[in-house]
């Protein structure tokens, strides 16, 4: 599994002194088996304690009563766990009534081509954080393989089902050797996990630079989006590594545009099925699609925030049974936040990147709604690098807004 990439690793780093390493029959046997068979085996390394994850989901569903979607919730990452949400997600990706996702996937190859030259002819390995259905990763891998014959692909996701979805077609499409693909079941929003991931990658790839990616506006699904990006940059990025980030954008921030953004998601029945699939999986709640609300608002002057919540509109208390057989009272008007996403103001992306201690190496923007009488939403694809140490004061300066200068 790791024999080829380890050729690049300095021996002292890969094999600390005093430890006797014997070739493992499991790993060396696996390598030869994977080389010869057509059976769709896929290597997967599990770093998650599934019991912990399960406890977190239960805990999130026991949160306080809230009429605004700020109490009970399905946290990002858990929306995709299990085969039902994964299938629902795959269906939503192909839905013509969910144009954001469809246009994002269809236009990706062109947008990638415009930022690709900034990477040069450096041989990268590719680590995809939240690979989705793998269609965008296929475009990146096909391109990177030209400059790195030893290219390895490491998709990382909390959901093992999503990982399987991502790599299944890739192996066939790209004729990528299975021994060069290692799926990691890991929650990359946890700092300790990122430190472990970095150690694992260094052990496997040594000094060879890595291209990380966070595509499909995944960053927008977490509560502390800027903090997540900063954490990924701090824990993962070395000076020669690069980060491919894709975020949804808006040309203006006001409540009417926020409502239009929410409506965009509301149109797709398959997206509705996806966002409710986690509740169906983790609770015995009878889901009424008319009780799903799509709410748009402006968040801290930097993004449109779209919250998709399930509200108890029955007027009576509903007991919900969780998988651990515990019961939760779902009171009238109480809500469960099913999904959260954002569209970032284009002019605020610079300060957001600076706050996350990364710098933009290259970027391209695509508008997806061109009609004059509609709000202009789009996607920004950027290649980022870690902010050099010496540039930290400058980055801190950029974090300040004009408002801070006036009221500082």
């Amino acid at each position: 599994m790791t024999s080829q990439p380890l050729d690049d690793v300095p021996e002292a780093e890969a094999y600390p002194a005093g430890v006797l390493y014997e070739p493992s029959p499991v790993l060396s046997g696996l390598e030869s088996v994977l080389e010869r068979t057509d059976y769709p085996w896929a290597l997967e390394l599990v770093g998650e304690d599934q019991a912990d994850k399960f406890a977190t989901v239960m805990s999130d569903l026991r949160r306080r009563h809230s009429v605004t979607g700020d109490g009970k919730r399905i946290t990002s990452g858990y929306s995709y766990m299990g085969i039902e949400p994964t299938i629902a997600w795959a269906n939503a990706c192909g839905d013509r009534l969910y144009p954001v996702m469809k246009q994002s996937i269809e236009s990706f190859a062109g947008r990638w081509a415009s930022v690709r030259p900034s990477l040069g002819a450096v041989p990268y390995h590719y680590v995809s954080l939240g690979p989705g259905d793998g269609q965008k990763d296929a475009v990146v891998l096909q391109d990177l393989r030209r400059d790195n014959a030893q290219l390895c692909y490491v998709p990382v996701d909390t959901s093992t089902e999503m990982l399987r979805l991502a790599v299944r077609d890739l192996i066939r499409q790209l004729t990528l050797s299975r021994k060069r693909i290692l799926s990691l079941s890991l929650d990359f929003s946890v700092r300790e996990n990122l430190a472990e991931l970095r150690r694992l990658l260094t052990g496997m790839f040594g000094d060879t630079p890595v291209l990380f990616s966070l595509l499909g506006n995944t960053m927008a699904n977490v509560d502390d989006d800027t903090e997540l990006l900063g954490m990924l940059a701090t824990e993962l990025l070395r000076p020669r590594d690069r980060f491919l980030l894709e975020v949804a954008t808006t040309s203006s921030l006001d409540n009417d545009v926020a409502d239009a953004a929410a409506t965009e998601y509301e149109r797709s029945r398959s997206f509705g099925e996806f966002v409710t699939s986690a509740v169906r999986r983790y609770t015995d709640l009878h889901v009424d699609m008319d009780s799903v609300e799509y709410q748009g608002s402006v968040e801290r002057g930097h993004a449109l925030l779209i919250k998709i919540i399930y509200r108890n509109q029955t007027g009576r208390e509903i007991p919900i049974t969780l998988p651990d057989r515990d019961s939760v009272r779902f009171r009238p008007d109480d809500t469960i936040r099913l999904y959260m996403t954002r569209k970032y103001a284009q002019e605020r992306l610079g300060s957001m990147l600076a706050a996350s201690r990364v710098r933009k190496v290259a970027g391209t923007h695509a508008d997806f709604t061109a009609a004059n009488n509609r709000p202009r939403f789009g996607m920004e694809l950027m290649i980022l690098a870690a902010q050099p140490e010496g540039a930290q004061p400058g980055a801190t300066r950029l974090e300040r807004t004009l408002a801070d200068d006036v009221w500082g």
């Binding site: 006001d254 409540n255 608002s297 968040e299 002057g301 925030l305 807004t401 004009l402 006036v406 009221w407």
Partner: protein
């Protein structure tokens, strides 16, 4: 220079009255009979005139001072009410709109400082606090103007939340101005307990 000239005029005036009084006393001692009435009347006239002018001046200064302090107290009460105005409160929810902020009034402070109504030795502490308060309030009002100009005229409505956050941040300008007002109010109440106390709580809390 002006103070030296004022002192010279006072010395000349009181010196002349003093010399006239001395001459009148000498005249009274050397005169006899009915002619002693004239220096006596002059001395009494001089004393009556001097005390009358001084008493009227003193009463007038006291009245100016009372009016100045009451106006000042009233203005500080209005400032406290403005700091509690909903337009200066943090915007709740996400539907934040551009707004015109209320300004802190400083006209009574300005008038008090230029009128000279607070000219007693004991007023030094209050005068110093009023000068500092005036500078703070003017700076605060100026920042509100810059905020409105940016949001309304530079088409930066999306920055409303930034400005709202900056204005209401912990230990920011708004907190400082509340603290200064509270301190000024307390000082005024301690040194002038006779002033009517406004109902508004300057702490804003």
């Amino acid at each position: 220079m002006r103070r030296a000239r004022s002192s010279s005029i006072a010395v000349l005036t009181f010196g002349s009255v003093g010399v006239a009084a001395v001459i009148s006393v000498v005249w009274f001692s050397v005169a006899s009979g009915l002619s002693r009435f004239e220096p006596a009347v002059q001395v009494m006239g001089l004393l009556g005139g001097l005390t009358g002018v001084l008493a009227e001046r003193r009463a007038s200064a006291r009245e100016r001072r009372r009016v100045a302090l009451e106006t000042l107290s009233d203005e500080l009460g209005r400032v406290a009410a403005i700091l509690d105005d909903p337009r200066l409160a943090p915007a709740h929810g996400t539907a934040r709109r551009p707004r015109v902020y209320p300004r802190l009034p400083v006209s009574a402070v300005d008038a008090t400082l230029v009128s000279g109504a607070l000219a007693e030795q004991s007023d030094t502490g209050l005068l110093g606090r009023l000068h500092r308060w005036r500078d703070e309030a003017n700076g605060f009002n100026r920042r509100l103007e810059l905020t409105e100009m940016r949001i309304f005229t530079a088409g930066a409505a999306h920055e409303v939340e930034d400005f709202d956050r900056a204005l209401h941040r912990s230990d920011g300008h708004l907190d400082q101005i509340r603290r200064q007002l509270l301190e000024l109010r307390r000082y005024l109440d301690e040194t002038h307990p006779e002033l009517p106390h406004p109902d508004a709580d300057p702490s804003g809390g």
